[in-house]
Symmetry: C2
Subunit: 293 residues, 2 copies
């Protein structure tokens, strides 16, 4: 990719793009392609840089409304939460960057190992994970549930592009709808959910419990639930600082309650499951719960 082509693609002045590429080169973010004058490519560790930048971006960009208005959030949290909304694109991008190395690989290998006939992802976003699974296993069908219209549209497009749209059903609905109508869960061998259950705590905890029971009912004996969640104030040295940030942001600013490992365990058992494995992740404060009937 050279500056002229890139400037044309993004409709920016060539000089500006050229200077930016040179700054990126100085920062070892891009490198010159040997033998192709003026052509650059990303460095091989760019995805690791994005992974690391994900943490900073989540802290500083995704949570900017909290960082900029601490007094309002401390004095009138309810009002402040309605007034100062997060930029959901910043949330999505920083989460994807963190997840790329920190929670996605563990989840994906768990799912791949199961080679599920049918998989349902709750809060599927653009269905990136499901598409990867459907591409790997040509017999597998899937359901991507998400409440965001744009994410669902992107999921449909991406599934067409990947040639798996005949096996992927995209459902635009809030996860809460599954408490009363669990139709989309039917026949699922694997149900996945990443960082969506805590969004129901504390106000909709009873709804969350009903959804978990419905997951259990929809599932055969060879099925499992794979839930990625954040636990509060993880105290291990390597994860304590980011964990403290995640916990405090959720509790004070978003008004969410994070459950501990044992609280999650009790909740799964109360919903009718009998085996709970908790896998610590590279993501500080993140846990993958693999829960079986």
């Amino acid at each position: 990719m050279n500056a002229t082509k890139l400037a044309d693609d993004v409709d920016l002045p060539v000089k500006g793009v050229q200077d930016l590429l040179e700054a990126y080169e100085a920062a070892a973010i891009v490198t010159r392609v040997p033998g192709e004058d003026g052509s650059f490519r990303a460095v091989s560790d760019l995805e690791w840089l994005c992974y690391q930048a994900g943490y900073v971006s989540w802290a500083m960009n995704a949570n900017r409304p909290f960082v900029e208005n601490p007094r309002e959030f401390l004095e009138n949290p309810e009002t402040a939460r309605r007034t100062h909304l997060r930029d959901m694109r910043e949330v999505a991008v920083s989460s994807q960057w963190m997840g790329s190395k920190a929670f996605y690989p563990a989840l994906l290998s768990t799912v791949f190992e199961a080679r599920p006939r049918r998989i349902v992802d709750l809060g599927a976003g653009t269905a990136r994970m499901l598409i990867e699974v459907l591409q790997a296993f040509p017999e597998t069908t899937g359901v991507a549930l998400d409440m965001a219209h744009d994410a669902c549209t992107a999921a449909v497009e991406a599934s067409k592009f990947a040639g798996v749209d005949d096996r992927l059903t995209v459902v635009e609905a809030p996860i809460q709808s599954l408490a009363d109508d669990p139709t989309v869960l039917e026949g699922a061998q694997v149900i996945t959910a990443g960082f969506v259950f805590h969004d129901m705590m504390p106000e909709e905890e009873e709804t969350a419990d009903r959804i978990l029971r419905n997951c259990r009912s929809a599932m055969g004996s060879d099925g499992f639930l794979a839930i990625t969640e954040a636990v509060p104030y993880a105290a291990m040295g390597w994860e304590r600082r980011f964990s403290a940030l995640v916990t405090y942001m959720h509790q004070q600013f978003m008004g969410r309650r994070l459950l501990t490992e044992s609280q999650w365990r009790d909740k799964f058992l109360a919903a009718g499951f009998s085996e709970v494995v908790c896998i610590r992740q590279p993501f500080p404060t993140g846990r993958l719960f693999v829960v079986r009937p």
Copy 2:
């Protein structure tokens, strides 16, 4: 310090302050005072955390207008520079944090070693460095020059508090004024200037050159100039990334031209100085030039 006292001091709800202190404790930013129930103090490495946070804060907070409006700055830099102004408090705080470990110590030890009779600091801010020097050497007099009214007011207050106001003259004026009226430089044995000369490049380079000549003329044979500056695109591995950021931000977004080590050297020699020592600093891309007649 406990939550009740702190909440009262900053006029915030006690519960909110208590929760924040507990989050800080979880993040190892504060620690409980043994034997004093509910009382916290900063951890001993807090100043190192601030130092590290300074780099992130400079990149993400001080430069936020550029980060948020890249297209405007690439398409119409002149307009964008007038429209999207930096928050100078973010600039000052992040610079002070970075400087605390990265350029302040080398400068201070250079000045202390000289035990100057009279010292003039150009772009003195709140005169923190000068006050420290005047406190150490009871015979020394100083001049703090800064164009920011608030900084000058704070400098006067701080010098009174430190009991050195009878030996410190605070001058509210732009450094550019010294090109035509170098009175404040008279009798200076040491003249210091941190990151102020590059602000004159490229438009006012001739003014900068005249100021340097006036510095030389004002100075006796035992005097020196200690200038801290950023050089462009320092290529050493450990400093290349932050250096690329500093360089690009100054060139593209602030419209400044950074000079290389040898360009600075030539400039000092052209101004009538004869010895230039360049000291690499812990600050990536930063250089301390000690320049003698």
